[in-house]
Subunit: 255 residues, 2 copies
DNA sequence: TATTAAAGTGAACACCGTTAGCTAACTAAT
DNA sequence: ATTAGTTAGCTAACGGTGTTCACTTTAATA
């Protein structure tokens, strides 16, 4: 009757997916209310209307559930960021990069607890080891959460690469203000590491360096704000804008 | 016999202090081994050789214990940083500020889990509320942990103020490279907030702005490295040095 | 319809933080 | 020196947690 002639997901699979979604939704609701450490497997079970033991049909452990939730949150952040970027046309690389920063901040601040879970996860518990093992099993070089984080950074890095391509092809390109002397070792590592972020082509070292510097700065801003450590607390928007301006200055762009 | 004629701490008080130290040491050892969420009150009790209930003679709750531990860790960080700064003479403000950054990083990286506890604390659990209440009770405007964090930042901010004093008194002072236009509101807030950090006198707005920017950058660097998110992972020392160079450039200093 | 795999249950285990009431030990004052 | 009061420690218990195991129900399949 319910045979799978259409090739689509069977009734059971649909049910299962629905239950999983329900579980995750409950977990997130608890995350919102009580923070990362306040998520209780038994409370989730109570919420979903099922025994605690039943959840083990869906997740190997609470940590595994949290990890999946964490990945979902990254997906949400990435989707949100991408949407914000796409509000500007594909050629407006600068605007799209600004949108990336802005969306990142917006999401992290309006979803503080989720963000807290995301950044505290990679090394919390023994989860890192678990992550790493899962990653290796799938043939990936990184644990899934680090991978997601890089996917997120790549949204901005790729845009930078495209921006370089265009500016360099139509008139010399913009020389960055200043690049300190770097050893061949660091130079190589920057290129290697950022081949993953800045997926693009032969962007010059100065750009890569400025990109990494900017990435660190934005990370600092967002984490500080989300964790309540930002010195500025009233005119945060303007402060961000001024920081963006300064970073653009590093790329030799006056905005 | 054991009367307190000398005015010093009584035998009981000494014993008590010793026990408290033992408890904290055990807590820290567990922090080191199992991370912030792996600290168990009962395990501490077992370790110290006492019943779990007995610990409540020393701390109101596990959270209270963690908070005190957190403050101790800040004290350790501050002491270490101060020591590193004092390796340079009092006039070498630039060197002392570099030492501040370097010591901060060093401590955070060699005490990752402690650092993790420290930055995840201010908002974790309901501890923030507890902190705030404790702070208000003591008449302080901030919770003790935020206060410690600011004391730490002040080590660097104060040095910057002294540096400005000297350079401005002996020949015009160094103009920072660039300061974006800031609204009166943000200007005022920067001055207000940083009156706490940069305890000093009439340092110009551009310096305050650059200081806050630098503070954000260093925070980003340290957090990323401690949490394993720093893009650079092999030539970290050199990367830090290059970042410091760039920040000095913001102050108009080539070095 | 009989078979088989999945989903769910209930009880148990070993932990956890916290509280209440009691006992022994030590301090301080009479 | 005796007494009163404080402090540190104990045991026992309560309600909570994650996790496992054996068992039953449910639903899809052959």
């Amino acid at each position: 009757m319910t045979s799978n002639t259409a090739g689509g997901p069977s009734r059971r699979e649909r049910m299962r997916a629905e239950t999983i979604a329900e579980i995750k939704a409950s977990a997130r609701s608890q995350l919102l209310q009580h923070g990362p450490s306040g998520i209780s497997l038994r409370a989730i079970a109570r919420d979903v209307g099922v025994t605690a033991a039943a959840l083990y049909r869906y997740f190997d452990s609470l940590d595994a559930l949290l990890m999946e939730l964490c990945c979902d949150l990254y997906d949400e952040l990435i989707a949100e960021t991408r949407k914000a970027m796409d509000a500007s046309p594909p050629e407006a690389h600068l605007e799209r990069m600004k949108a990336w920063i802005w969306a990142f901040r917006e999401w992290a601040v309006t979803n503080r607890r989720e963000f807290e879970l995301m950044i505290s996860f990679p090394e919390d518990h023994n989860a890192m080891a678990m992550c790493a093992r899962a990653g290796e099993a799938a043939g990936l070089p990184f644990d899934p959460i680090t991978a997601k984080s890089m996917e997120h950074a790549q949204l901005c890095g790729g845009e930078l690469a495209k921006f370089y391509e265009e500016t360099s092809s139509q008139g010399g390109g913009i020389p960055p203000v200043q690049l300190p002397e770097l050893s061949p070792g660091l130079t190589a590592e920057l290129r290697d590491r950022c081949a993953l972020f800045v997926v693009g082509e032969t962007v010059p070292l100065a750009w890569i360096f400025s990109f990494v510097s900017g990435w660190v700065r934005v990370f600092g801003l967002v984490v500080m704000e989300a964790f309540g450590n930002l010195p500025v607390q009233e005119h945060v928007d303007e402060f961000y804008k001024s920081q963006i301006l300064m970073m653009m200055h590093d790329f030799g762009i006056e905005g």
